[in-house]
Symmetry: C2
Subunit: 155 residues, 2 copies
């Protein structure tokens, strides 16, 4: 099992390098796009989470994003100041607030979804179907391997 195969190793390393390069490039590109909308990466992540779990107390956002409640306070401060969300009183618990989208916030998230959809078209529309299928199969395999290694999806 532990016999070393140098050629395979080099091939695996090259494949991993491609994935990591893609990782860096996509991250950079997405963050550039966000700044144009007046959003930071973390605030955008919060909006995305809020869309998924709906209006909720900050505690729930902290749990969903796996960050501290104190950090959520700061992010919500910024999003309130820039008009993407509001803090509404919780009818059930006077200690809690319900973080809620404004119209601007809803529009921003809808815009992000459409941008991502358009980006998907740009990336894949010209790709031969069998190559896309091969890519999807490879990605699924990698994700399954990561899962088996103990890495869990953040969602």
């Amino acid at each position: 099992m532990s016999v070393t195969h140098y050629e395979d190793d080099a091939r695996f390393a090259a494949a991993l390098d491609r994935i990591l390069l893609l990782t860096v490039m996509l991250n950079d590109d997405m963050n550039r796009g966000l700044a144009a909308d007046g959003l930071t990466p973390s605030r955008t992540s919060l909006l995305w989470t809020l869309r998924r779990i709906g209006p909720c107390p900050q505690k729930a956002i902290a749990a969903a994003m796996k960050i501290s409640p104190r950090t959520v306070t700061g992010l919500v401060d910024g999003l309130v100041a820039t008009g993407f969300v509001t803090r509404e009183p919780s009818p059930a618990d006077r200690r809690a607030v319900l973080v809620t989208f404004t119209g601007k916030g809803t529009a921003a998230v809808d815009s992000l979804i459409e941008q991502q959809r358009e980006f998907g078209r740009q990336l894949f529309a010209t790709m031969p179907p069998e190559r896309l299928a091969g890519l999807e199969a490879g990605l699924d395999d990698v994700l399954a391997t990561l899962h088996a290694l103990g890495l869990r999806s953040p969602f």
Copy 2:
């Protein structure tokens, strides 16, 4: 050309989602690993850059990493304090310093390389060769498309 194909769109979006999920998971995992070595992501990036371009003045590091010279000062401060690099006087220019690996710094980078290689083995060693080939072809296609869209590799 601009006829909308909803099913294709959904498939493209799903493929992009997979890539972005992989992006997030790999980033998280690598950053977790770094902290164990007493390194932050940015300091690690600097070490990686330094390995690529060799001992050099901070100005060159700033250019290679596309960050400001002032930020490099701070990162090098941290790496000097934790013993990964030293600032050596430049023989050619008394204004400049040469950022240079210590033994600990060299060992840390070698360790990172080996960790990455091992990770590649874990990800791909059990993958059927034709599936790996399909993944590589798909990734190359995506990277080429990104290049055509104007996104450039940071290296």
